[in-house]
């Protein structure tokens, strides 16, 4: 084995890592944010909205991410929508992740006891205020662990974007393989990088879950009251 090929290509690989991290950060923030209104519409909106959201999540969970990526890359220009490869891949990854995120958020919303919602209505609290002050603070801690686990899957999903001309880590690596014919070294390095990125995500998940913990929030409230 000879890892010099990796050193000479280090700047290129670094760029690929940057693109992978960027894709993952965008998918990780935008997909849950866009999924939240859909989950709320499904639970608290009219019946037709609930059915539409269910159909959407079913379709997104039934179709492979790779098909969505190709659809965005080849299909959207056919519809007259011209985006850069990175933007269209980002769109496909977000829509694909949303299918699962809506389900996680819905199950979080359903974990809020019905009696609390009835109490809010009995007290004459508005729908918006009820969602903001009563439902979400209880629903989000339930939904965050699966959302984060999904993020590690999303990280692996970004490797597919390389197949539709996005210069992320995997596509850089496969480009280097066809240039240098050193698949073993390059793929080992790519694997190690993905495992490192995954470990960072898992570490982040532990921190966020700690923060959402009721005890941590109670301690913070006490500190603030004392200050």
């Amino acid at each position: 084995m000879d890892f010099t090929v990796v050193w000479t290509a280090a700047p290129l690989i670094a760029k690929g890592i940057g693109m992978t991290v960027l894709l993952m950060a965008c998918v990780g923030t935008l997909a849950p944010l866009l999924a939240l209104p859909l989950a709320l519409a499904r639970e608290f909106g009219p019946a037709w909205a609930g059915r539409a959201v269910s159909a959407f999540t079913w379709a997104m969970r039934a179709v492979p991410t790779l098909v969505l990526l190709f659809f965005a890359y080849f299909g959207l220009p056919a519809l007259g929508i011209y985006l850069s490869p990175t933007l269209s891949a980002l769109g496909a990854l977000i829509v694909s992740a949303m299918g699962y995120n809506v389900e996680f958020l819905t199950s979080g919303l359903r974990a809020v006891p019905a009696a609390q919602i009835e109490t809010c209505r009995a007290l004459g609290m508005g729908q918006g205020k009820m969602i903001r002050r009563i439902v979400l603070p209880q629903a989000l801690p339930v939904a965050v662990p699966p959302l984060f686990s999904n993020l590690t899957l999303n990280l692996k999903g970004t490797s597919l974007a390389g197949l539709v001309a996005v210069p992320e880590l995997t596509s850089i690596i496969s480009g280097l393989i066809s240039e240098t014919y050193r698949p073993i070294e390059l793929l080992l390095v790519a694997g190690a990088i993905y495992l490192c990125l995954n470990s960072v995500l898992i570490w982040l998940q532990a921190r966020v879950e700690e923060r959402l913990d009721v005890r941590w929030r109670a301690a913070r409230a006490e500190r603030r009251a004392a200050a």
Binding site: R61, P64, F70, L155, L160, I184, G191
Partner: protein
């Protein structure tokens, strides 16, 4: 927009997908069987010889293959293994790669399910003189599957979608076929629509199987 949709193309082209559909089904079934066999042997071995080194090795295996992107694993099987002296066809490397990734997740499901079986069940079977093989088949296995099967089936749904990655290592399953035809016919919209519908239909079949299995496995409380 100057794109004219050729809906008749879908009907004309659909018969050409027949082989690709079979290849997807074959790849899915082979990878699924191999991964279940791997995951089951690992979970049972980890349970019988509960030694620390073996636990570490299994833990590392599962961490590794749950952490790596499928594409990287498949490319490694397809490009790197031949350099290491193991010649595989593209179908074989896709099958092995997919099975390795899936077995890591299935191992975790089975390991979790095994912890739900109380130690008394093993002790009682031994006290009654059950040989190990019979104990696993008749006592532990049925209880294990009741807990593990719903999660395994949910995971099996996602495994179908993962077979599409095999198109990247030159397997002409549904996705690979669509990519080839896009290059040849320049009709991306129609071809991606075909691929979407085919995957949705196949996924739905597995989802229905999942619902039926759940219903069958539910304990009758009377």
């Amino acid at each position: 927009m100057g794109y004219d949709f050729d809906w008749s193309l879908i009907l004309r082209i659909l018969p050409r997908f027949q082989d690709a559909i079979w290849l997807t089904v074959k790849l899915y079934l082979c990878a699924q069987l191999l991964s279940i066999a791997l995951a089951f042997s690992m979970a049972v071995a980890g349970n019988i010889w509960a030694s620390r080194p073996l636990g570490r090795v299994l833990g590392f295996y599962s961490w590794l293959f749950r952490g790596l992107p499928e594409l990287i694993v498949l490319l490694f099987c397809f490009l790197a293994l031949p350099d290491l002296g193991l010649r595989l066809s593209s179908f074989q490397s896709a099958m092995i790669g997919l099975a390795l990734v899936a077995s890591a997740y299935e191992y975790e499901i089975l390991r979790g399910a095994l912890t739900s079986i109380p130690a008394q069940q093993y002790e009682a079977s031994r006290a009654l003189g059950f040989p190990p093989g019979k104990m696993w088949r008749r006592i532990i296995g049925p209880q294990l599957m009741r807990v593990a099967l719903p999660s395994l089936l949910t995971f099996a749904c996602t495994s179908l979608k993962r077979t599409s990655v095999a198109s990247a290592v030159a397997v002409t399953e549904i996705m690979g076929m669509s990519r080839r035809l896009i290059d040849a016919l320049q009709k991306p919209f129609e071809l991606m629509a075909i691929a979407m519908v085919l995957y949705a239909v196949l996924s739905s079949i597995i989802m229905i199987a999942e619902v039926l299995a759940r219903r069958r496995l539910a304990l009758k409380s009377e």
